[in-house]
């Protein structure tokens, strides 16, 4: 089942920034990195649930604003030595629009 949902035009997410998507099941953070790759993670840090969307993005990582864990954007996994994982969803850009697919976490 493909449940791609349109989020917003790509330019509404700043480079190295994010956008929060509110769903009935909690917030999703949609990130755009310096190379315009798009990632979607549950907006909850594996440490103590901090809002990852508010962190600093670099390359394929985001640093949580609360206690500085780094989380891998493409896997949702915390960067060693920290250990933990947040849900990760599929995301893509099509004709300048950002889509995410919440059907199942990857």
């Amino acid at each position: 089942m493909s449940e791609w949902m349109r989020v917003c035009p790509l330019e509404e997410i700043p480079k190295l920034g994010s956008r929060v998507v509110q769903t009935g099941n909690g917030d999703i953070a949609v990130f755009r990195n310096g190379a315009d790759a798009i990632f979607a993670l549950r907006d909850q840090c594996p440490h103590k649930g901090g809002p990852l969307s508010q962190g600093i993005v670099s390359d394929r990582k985001v640093t949580c604003p609360l206690h500085g864990w780094a989380v891998q954007l493409d896997s949702g996994e915390a960067v060693a030595p920290d250990c933990g994982c947040t849900n990760r969803y599929r995301a893509r850009v099509d004709k300048g629009e950002v889509y995410i697919n919440l059907s199942e976490p990857k």
Binding site: M1, E3, W4, M5, R6, V7, C8, E12, I13, P14, K15, L16, G17, R19, V20, V21, Q22, T23, G24, N25, D27, V30, N33, G34, G50, P51, Q54, G55, I56, V57, S58, D59, T63, P65, L66, H67, G68, A70, P81, L102, S103
Partner: protein, 893 residues
């Protein structure tokens, strides 16, 4: 193309560290072969002490197991001792005939323990303390025998003695010198040490010279020779006629800084010991030991811990230049350009180091050259000594004996069992010994190594850095004696036991590593001193505090804050990508530390040209509000000087009701905090408040706290309220390396607590006193007097100039106090007080920088950066129903 071949001889701490560093830099450059004489992977040799003490097992101390070599494609020859280097055919040959050809060869053969050439020295039951085999032998002996004698009262000997005692043996330490660890301690500290070790059940025989070790069948004595006990860290085999240690003797072949004995120097012309077989073939066993004075004590185990000698036999046989170690240059290259050497076997600028920290530094440099980067140099290390395992806090560095031309500052508190001595020469610390309380060891060591002038610190030196107004760990300062379950890091709730466990199990050596793995000391930093001590008491001298003088900005670059700031101006770098590409940043986009720093440096250098990058700011500064632990935000509007009006208060009340703001409170900076605002409501709250941002969230001007002052107060001599308002208006919207807080009091009663602020102004009859670099946070620091000003205008100029100097010269995340401690108050006075033209120029630059800063709330209330505050909403049914379209509620107005 075929890969170049790298062969490593010596599978120990330095050699393998060099390989690890190399693999980080150039994983595919070489085909690597390693020879190790021991039958084990690389293990953490320094943790043999806790193994002997029964606190750890061999398994716990492995750093690189055999799998690690396989995973990295390294050919490993264990239990194979290399016996020949053929430099002509460029190959090495091991005892069993195994050969390996090399293009580059790395020697990391470590040291050999020195065995006293006394009769009976080769009896079974006489061991050294160097490797797993020795340790196993000692543990084995402890389970069968009773009497142990350790020859050598240095670090190694004491750790051995302590371990054997814990294993139930009756242990006597025999030492040639009049006091223990004479190369690291003065007599007073050594006395205290001896007392507490005696309380643990150890026995000591000082000024005893071993004549003969006696076994069940003995030959007559050949000769008697006196040997001083010593341990790792320093070997200087004593001359037979030496009666007194002489730490002040400047060792030959050194630069300007005379390295003190505790620099881990292996030196001093010793006579090589007689040829000696460690595995004695005789079946008899040691039974006693006899001294020159004719006395004799029983011994079933004798541990020789009298020193180590660089293991250079192989290199010498191959014709490499050796002089108390294989001689290397600053790139760790030997006289044969294909051959490098690192570790205890290497002699760099006349010094062979016997501690892990300098060896790791050598490994890093060597790897850089092996990786053909060629940009790194090793210029020597200053080391310090700590005793581990025994539960005693002990620290020593530099020239701790003092003497002609130097003075001593001594604190001796026999009730607390604390002894501290600092040796000062020409206003600089040249050495010191700390016993019982080593919390400030790292600080003193830093002052020593940086050669910092301590004149101004002098009266505070002894009470130490960590004792003044520190909060968060119950004032504890003695790490080794702390119980395991005691909390060390109040911020992150980390106990001592957790830290020790991580250090041991994960093989951590640096503060950074401990911070990463345990989070201890990673927040407020007030427990840093304790964590450093725990590191020191766990890994001993392997821990050396980082060099404060040259601090790279972060892991993304090797350039320092200062180098980067300079280049930003000189090279006219005006964006983060430009700066990163100019300095060849290692990580794409940098990291969460360097991006905000660069953003600030660029902003400070180019106040009008640089476009602030919101994505390189921490969330609080991007959202212009403080994120709270539940993800909501707090809003603190500016209330100049703490003076408000009914209209303002009414507006705040209305906004609070309209947006159902759950909490209102007064801040410590005398203004009002609206807590629990949803991010998406921030622009609306700001619009309705119609007050300027209070910048309570930023590395920026915070508040200027004031007291009522002469307008109302019966004591007041100056109008502190209006002075404060004028300052707050002038500094409004100012970004800085860290937060900046001011306060103004109307008289010396100082109700505004001005003397713990970055700038504190205190009114007196004839004007204003200006204090700077105070701090009221985690670590209270009293502000230092800068100058007296006669008028409000002068106050503005001095304060403004001081702040601009801080903005231009401090490192990002330095509070004023950190920067002033590094730069020195003398320097600050010179720039701000003495150089009046310079002061005016600084003040002008500050005014210029702030001239067109806009109020961030007002901008955002009018739609700037709207996407930051506007979430996209999906409808729940929509997701479950599987529709392709989202229900777009659009961007909230």
């Amino acid at each position: 193309m075929k890969k170049a071949r790298l062969v490593v001889i010596g599978n120990g701490m330095a050699g393998v560290r060099a390989l690890e560093e190399l693999l980080k830099l150039a994983p595919d450059l070489y085909d690597i072969t390693v020879f190790g004489a021991e039958p084990h992977g690389n293990y953490n040799r320094i943790l043999l002490s806790p193994v002997l003490a029964g606190e750890m097992t061999i398994k716990d101390i492995m750093l690189n197991d055999v799998d690690w070599y396989a995973q990295n494609g390294i050919t490993l020859h264990l239990d194979k001792k290399v016996t020949q280097i053929d430099r002509v055919r460029r190959k090495v040959i091991a005892a069993d005939g195994t050969e390996a050809a090399y293009d580059r060869l790395l020697l990391a053969t470590g040291s050999n323990p020195v065995m006293l050439p006394v009769p009976g020295g080769d009896l079974p039951g006489v061991v050294a303390y160097r490797d797993i085999k020795d340790t196993d032998e000692m543990i084995e002996a402890a389970s069968h025998y009773r009497h142990a004698v350790v020859i050598g009262g240095g670090l190694l000997g004491l750790e051995a003695a302590n371990g054997l005692r814990l294993r139930g043996m009756d242990v006597t330490v025999v030492h040639l010198m009049p006091w223990l660890m004479e190369r690291q301690l003065d007599r007073a500290a050594a006395g205290l040490l001896q007392q507490s070790l005696e309380a643990k059940g150890l026995k000591f025989l000082l000024e005893k010279q071993t004549e003969q070790i006696i076994g069940t069948s003995m030959l007559p004595p050949l000769q008697g020779e006196g040997w001083g006990g010593d341990g790792f860290g320093a070997v200087d085999l004593p001359h037979p006629h030496r009666t007194h240690p002489h730490p002040n003797l400047p060792p030959e072949g050194e630069g300007t800084i005379a390295p003190p004995p505790s620099r881990g120097r292996l030196g001093g012309g010793w006579v090589d010991s007689l040829p000696h077989e460690r595995e004695g073939a005789r079946s008899s066993r040691v039974t006693s030991i006899r001294f020159k004075d004719g006395t004799e004590i029983p011994a079933d185990l004798v541990v020789m811990a009298v020193g180590i000698r660089p293991n250079t036999g192989l290199a010498e046989a191959a014709g490499l230049h050796c002089s108390r170690g294989v001689v290397v240059d600053d790139t760790m290259q030997t006289y044969d350009p294909r051959i490098y050497a690192v570790g205890e076997c290497a002699s760099h600028r006349g010094i062979a180091y016997g501690l892990v920290a300098p060896l790791f530094e050598q490994a890093r440099v060597c790897a850089n050259h092996l990786a053909q980067l060629g940009i790194s140099r090793y210029t020597g290390s200053v080391t310090s000594t700590k005793l581990k395992v025994t539960g005693i806090d002990l620290f020593s560095a530099g020239d701790f004996m003092g003497g002609e031309g130097s003075e001593e500052i001594v604190l001796s508190d026999s009730f607390r069992g604390v002894y501290k001595k600092l040796v000062v020469k020409d206003d600089k610390i040249v050495g010191g010994v700390l016993y019982g309380d080593t919390a400030d060891g790292s600080w003193y060591f830093q002052l020593l190594r940086d050669g910092q002038n301590i004149r101004e610190l002098r009266d505070r030196l002894m009470s130490g850095q960590s004792h003044l107004g520190n909060s968060g760990h119950q004032g504890r300062s003695n790490a080794a004696s702390m119980p395991d379950d005691m909390e060390v890091c109040g911020c992150n709730g980390v106990c001592k036991g957790t830290i020790v466990k991580a250090i041991k199990e994960k093989g951590l050596f640096t503060l950074e590593e401990v911070r990463k793995h345990t989070k201890a000391s990673s927040s407020c930093g007030s427990c840093t001193g304790l964590v450093e001590q725990i590191l020191a008491s766990t890994v001993g001298g392997a821990y050396q505090p980082a060099d404060a003088g040259r601090k790279p900005l972060c892991g993304c670059t090797d350039y320092t804050h200062e180098e980067i700031r300079k280049a930003i101006i000189e090279r006219k770098l005006k964006s983060i990508p430009e700066a990163m590409s100019f300095f060849e940043w290692r990580n794409v986009d940098g990291c969460a530390f360097c991006r905000p720093a660069l953003n600030y440096y660029l902003l400070c250098a180019w106040p009008h040209d640089y476009r602030d990058d919101p994505q390189s700011r921490f969330i609080n500064e991007r959202a212009h509000a403080n994120i709270q632990k539940d993800g909501t935000y707090s809003v603190v509007p500016r209330i100049y000087g703490g003076v408000t009006t009914p209209a303002q208060l009414r507006r705040i009340a209305e906004v609070a009701e309209k947006y159902a703001i759950p909490a209102l409170r007064c801040t410590g900076g005398q203004r009002i905090n609206l807590l629990g605002v949803k991010k998406e409501n921030l622009p609306k709250v700001w619009a309705d408040l119609d007050m300027p941002s209070g910048y309570a969230y930023g590395k920026s001007i915070r508040t200027v706290k004031t007291c009522v002052g002469s307008e109302w107060c019966r004591f007041g001599v100056q109008d502190s309220t209006n002075m404060g308002i004028a300052l707050e208006r002038a500094l409004d919207r100012m970004w800085a390396p860290h937060k900046v807080k001011l306060a103004v009091s109307g008289c010396p009663r100082n109700c505004a607590e001005a003397t713990i602020k970055d700038i504190g102004i205190v009114g007196v009859e004839s004007g204003w006193e200006i204090y700077v670099a105070g701090n009221g946070g985690i670590k209270a620091e009293v502000a230092l007097f800068l100058v007296k000003a006669k008028s409000a205008e002068e106050v503005m100029e001095y304060a403004g100039a001081f702040i601009q100097l801080y903005r231009e010269e401090a490192r990002y995340l330095d509070r004023t106090v950190h920067w002033v401690q590094r730069a020195g108050m003398g320097y600050v006075k010179q720039r701000i007080v003495e150089d009046s033209a310079g002061r005016k120029a600084l003040y002008e630059r500050l005014k210029d920088a702030l001239r067109d800063e806009k109020d961030p709330w007002r901008e955002r209330a009018h739609g700037f950066e709207a996407q930051e505050f506007a979430p996209v909403r999906f409808n729940r049914n929509n997701i479950q129903g599987g529709s392709h379209e989202r229900v777009d509620e659009g961007v909230p107005a």
